[in-house]
Chain length 469, copies 2
Amino acid sequence: MTRNEKINFATPSGFPEFLPGEKRLELYLLDTIRKVFESYGFTPIETPAVERLEVLQAKGNQGDNIIYGIEPILPPNRQLERDKSGETGAEARALKFDQTVPLAAYIARHLNELTFPFARYQMDMVFRGERAKDGRFRQFRQCDIDVVGRDKLSLLYDAQMPAIITEIFAAINIGDFVIRINNRKILSGFFQSLGVAQEQIKTCIGIVDNLEKIGEAQVQQDLEKSGISSEQSRKIIEFINIDGNVDDVLDKLKHLAVNLPQAEGFNLGVSELEAVIDGVNNLGVPSQRFCIDLSIARGLNYYTGTVYETTLIGHESLGSICSGGRYEELVGIFLGEKMPGVGISIGLSRLINRLLKADILQKLPPTPAQVMVVNIQEDLMPIYLQVSQQLRRGGINVVTNFEKKQLGKQFQLADKQGIRFCVIIGSQEAVNAKSCLKDLSTGEQIEVPLSNLATTLQQILQPTPSHGG
Amino acid sequence: MTRNEKINFATPSGFPEFLPGEKRLELYLLDTIRKVFESYGFTPIETPAVERLEVLQAKGNQGDNIIYGIEPILPPNRQLERDKSGETGAEARALKFDQTVPLAAYIARHLNELTFPFARYQMDMVFRGERAKDGRFRQFRQCDIDVVGRDKLSLLYDAQMPAIITEIFAAINIGDFVIRINNRKILSGFFQSLGVAQEQIKTCIGIVDNLEKIGEAQVQQDLEKSGISSEQSRKIIEFINIDGNVDDVLDKLKHLAVNLPQAEGFNLGVSELEAVIDGVNNLGVPSQRFCIDLSIARGLNYYTGTVYETTLIGHESLGSICSGGRYEELVGIFLGEKMPGVGISIGLSRLINRLLKADILQKLPPTPAQVMVVNIQEDLMPIYLQVSQQLRRGGINVVTNFEKKQLGKQFQLADKQGIRFCVIIGSQEAVNAKSCLKDLSTGEQIEVPLSNLATTLQQILQPTPSHGG
């Protein structure tokens, strides 16, 4: 074959792909996350990668997102079909940039076929035309759950979210983390009580939300620049610095409320937060796994109540590894119905990329095979095939080596791929219905009757992570 | 909220989505397929949905496929960035229309990081701008496996494919099926021996491949129309009608070869087919699951040896439910290297759609939840939450009903979603650390101490299909 020198076969910038050991890690994480989601009764859905552009832009506009539109390219021999294909000019279509607007559309499309509260998970790819830098991808997988109610939705759904986050990250075993919980009504209520004008509150919340990135002094400066008095900004800084365990913080908030004018919003936020914290406690989430952080607000404008961020302790620079909150006016946009929801999101592609780089997670071996049946005598191939099948029926992942090579080379090939065991059958073993089982991790070699081989291996091998336990 | 009346929130034509019970069925099938793939040591990869257009068109052109190009749409507030974004004009990019060209690109991109023979599976979405009819989708999931060698690749990899197909469709339990095996060298060798001109052989193979669709008479007519003599076409019809069990057919082919002029190609095909059939037998594939069918060729030009089709008996009109073959000159296109491969493909989205319509598969219940903890007394919520968590730790999928409703309504809500069990705890039960376990499928109700509840339920519940068993 002649190589086509002209083709640049690299992935397009911002569209990376995993090596097998990384992809296997992703599947293991997806299995783990899915298992936790399903244990709380969340059901899977998947919306198409492509939606009508008007759907994606339904929230007023597309936010700051660069959306990818799609346009059919006809093959050279079918250029004449352009006008007949029903594929051109009909409707503007584009790739989805998040799971939230498509969730709203999905609910609108299937309203009468769904049961409410509707608890769904989604692990699809989303697409954003970002500049590819900073570990930001243009295609990435996002793992979202949301519960959506019709008209009302218990705060206990908000309480379940930290329990779910805790179980996921404990199962993944990435070290200590803490879920920071707040309620946006507390922030906006406090600003209102201070006399901050209604139209300025969102700006203030945005500034406060930047605390971790820009520091206290800058927050104060930005607040004052936006027209907040120095007296007010001092009080705001003092307020967002309230800390202690959850009971302390709730006590301080209630104490503060006593002298606060126009405190309805504030009080509603505090009572919501208390109900959520109560639920989190009753769900048995260990107290070191969550705290109240009055400074977090989640930049996105659509959150209206509870908000969450998750910080990996010792790796704060990674930013929040799982975030979300409660919203009121998002899911109902297509129906004109009030549909309150609460949800969280894990940006899985980015998370894996960062956790691998920080050496917090390691990729898996590049193959799911656990055993290699080696080939030392071509005429014994029927036995090699039969033994391989016998092991597979025993739930073991097996490769049979079809190419006859020096035995040492075959061990190397297995070892390179992280395959721990080799099964060796020569004519002597074949006659006696035995095999030689070599553990490449120790070099040890034991004789095992073929009839016991599957059982012996089952006992040694732990369930592979790729089967999600 | 006011409904935005103008937005058409339907999915774009050709981009359907599953309801939860259908999506759960898809996940169950994906789990099942993946388990079989991994048991043979196939490792997962996923290539980006977006590739450079020149990569997708590398096989001379894009075949008959309408490809979707992608173009960034900047949000209104960022129109000025158009030229600076590095997102425009740089390179033509498009959505992949199959997994084969991207596999070739993946191997070229990671040649030195992969181990050969490289056995990978892929279950990604692909995109084709087809006219949306006939259950053809514009976005669909394709489950592919391929083994790719450098320079050479044992025919035993070809033999593994029917074993894998058999295990998948037996596990999915969709009734009787038969895998039809052929070797294109036999067909082209036979045509060559008949004296058909070299440049006409591919056309003839294409006509023969249509046998099932158009019938024998039409095949003969088409052959003659393309310049084949009636004597030749009669012999071709006779040839593709050779049948019997695999040994019979192989015998007849060898017998035929004796009097065939220029039979090198033909004989090579027969000996390859014999080696493959031998391997299939040694792998223990039941004899009723495969046959030799000399008429199948797979339309795609790139197959050069073994080819497979799978027919669901009694549902022949569905067409082949799993197909593939051996190719020589496909994977190496970017490297200019000979890289023989063999693979099969299941068009999963289309298959699910057709099997659901034909009532061969049924969708699953719309939720993975197996148990509902009902809410009959608000002040007992802490106990409901604790019991729910205890069951989840026991591996059971649980929803807690947060909304207080009439008990009958709560049973209805559970039943509607296919949740079989309700756990009822009133003040009496709470005091005695007991619960009432109601089986909605029978109406039976038993008293179970809370300490035994998880164990009792574990014993009754089979592993759910959504966990891949």
